[in-house]
């Protein structure tokens, strides 16, 4: 996974999009253009206390002058969104990484089905913008509790026009089985889901039942999929380039141990959701605990911030 430059961006606009959701527009403090990106990409916002938070870009990928991020205040979260809501205003500087794309329109797709829940709309809005620019067929299903609580609804309506189907719990709740029954499951159709685990789990379940192949159903995940019952065990890392063997104790991550040993390891979320620290492995049985690698990728790559191994693993670093 590649390193990314961290830029000083200026907040040129701060808008309350809907209750608890802040829309920030960001511009480089001296360069006219920002790094290019694709719909579905996210950036890291580096907070002054060292915390790093990922936010999907929700603006237009064609517009290189500004980035837009929509940030929902997570009152029970880890504090990052509260700090941004309380401290960041127009004219302020924020440290933002160049975008990373773990989630994007499938290049081979002919038709896209977007299914968003709440603030999960952010990456999918940008992907819908890209699909529209590409002249591709798509439909956008958007679920939220109430119309008034639906982030970015006006932008979404403008981008999608009659391809937007809304499902508000107090009006017409999403019937996911009925929605799938109406879907054109033709080979070129791909599904993209983003939202609470309740929604993405339902999409996974129905897609499996309806026989959708995994490679045509895509998800953006920003919460760690951790199992509270998981009991970490110590294991050994063999560094392929040097042959060095290091032991990872049960209470530490492979990433932290490698850093202690002097290896320069990029990382960002350290929760297994951003993909910054992904590295290859050639031998060993890995216990994958991340939310970013696909099943196919897991055959040869792992996320050392959170994933572990049984007994030993040889890392391609």
């Amino acid at each position: 996974m590649s390193a990314r430059i961290i830029m000083k961006l200026t907040v040129i606009d701060r808008v309350e999009d809907c209750a608890g959701v802040l829309l920030l527009s960001l511009r480089h403090h001296r360069k006219p253009l920002l790094p290019a990106w694709r719909g579905g990409a996210h950036v890291d916002i580096h907070l002054p206390d060292g915390k790093v938070r990922q936010y999907s870009l929700c603006g237009d990928p064609c517009s290189r002058e500004t980035y837009q991020v929509a940030i929902q205040r997570e009152t029970t979260g880890r504090g990052g969104s509260n700090w941004i809501h309380d401290q960041v205003g127009a004219g302020d500087t924020v440290h933002v990484s160049a975008p990373r794309t773990n989630f994007s329109l499938d290049d081979g797709a002919e038709r896209h089905v977007f299914i968003a829940g709440g603030i999960g709309v952010t990456p999918l809005l940008a992907m819908a913008r890209e699909a529209r620019t590409n002249g591709q067929d798509f439909v956008f299903h958007y679920c939220a509790r109430r119309r008034a609580d639906a982030p970015l609804l006006a932008s979404l309506a403008s981008v999608c026009a009659d391809r937007l189907v809304t499902h508000f719990s107090d009006e017409q709740r999403l019937d996911i089985d009925a929605m799938f029954a109406d879907l054109d499951a033709a080979e070129g159709t791909h599904i993209y889901g983003c939202g609470p685990a309740r929604l993405t789990d339902a999409i996974r379940r129905v897609a499996r039942v309806e026989g959708w192949p995994e490679e045509r159903v895509h998800f953006e995940v920003f919460q760690p999929a951790l199992d509270d019952d998981f009991k970490p065990e110590p294991f050994e890392i063999i560094v392929a380039s040097t042959g060095q063997r290091v032991t990872v104790p049960a209470d530490q991550s492979a990433l932290s141990i490698l850093r202690e040993q002097g290896y320069s390891m990029p990382s960002s979320c350290e929760l297994g959701v951003c993909g910054a620290c992904i590295c290859g492995y050639t031998d060993g049985q890995v216990i994958h605990r991340d939310s970013v690698l696909s099943l196919a990728d897991r055959q040869a790559r792992m996320t050392p911030c959170i994933s572990r191994a049984r007994n030993s693993v040889t890392l391609d670093i």
Partner: protein, 164 residues
């Protein structure tokens, strides 16, 4: 080499930590044996800070940056235009044969640097920039120096040889 009389300091750039964009400054304080005040290798926050090496101050020739922009010689698919803040070296020079200054002392303004080792290109820079600069920078990636005599430097300062 023996006829090199001197060159010029064009730009000074520093960054507070690994991966952070380099920022141009109008003056910089060089501290002997340490680095440039405010720079990542002075602060110990650089990508390579955990690996002790000669990296108190790094220099690169503007002639190299111009050559990449002109793709001359044609080492890559096309021109690579780098802003002086992109190459992540601290000092951009004009008219200074950096590859000849390994082991040599030279002045930058009122300070004295000693050429420690040739800088070599890294894939990390290529990833940060999103540009294929690794191969085109081979053998002309600049010079890593120690600071023998500290002081304050400015763009426009004269760079001149000290050792014969």
């Amino acid at each position: 080499m023996t006829d090199w009389q001197g060159g010029e300091l064009l730009h000074i750039h520093i960054a507070p930590a690994a991966a952070h964009e380099m920022e141009a400054v109008d003056e910089a304080e060089l501290v002997a044996g340490r680095g440039i005040v405010g720079d990542r290798y002075f602060l110990g926050t650089g990508t390579y800070s955990p690996k002790p090496d000669i990296r108190e101050v790094t220099l690169i020739e503007i002639e190299t940056i111009d050559a990449l922009a002109a793709n001359d010689p044609p080492l890559q698919d096309g021109p690579i235009v780098l802003d002086p803040s992109d190459h992540r070296r601290n000092l951009t020079t004009r008219g200074v044969p950096l590859n000849h200054l390994v082991g040599k002392r030279f002045r930058v303004g009122d300070t004295i640097l000693r050429g420690g080792r040739l800088n070599f290109p890294c894939k990390y820079l290529e990833e940060l920039l999103g540009e294929p600069v690794y191969l085109p920078l081979y053998n002309r990636s600049g010079l890593n120096c120690t600071i023998e005599t500290g002081g304050v430097i400015h763009p426009g300062d004269v760079i001149s040889p000290l050792d014969d």
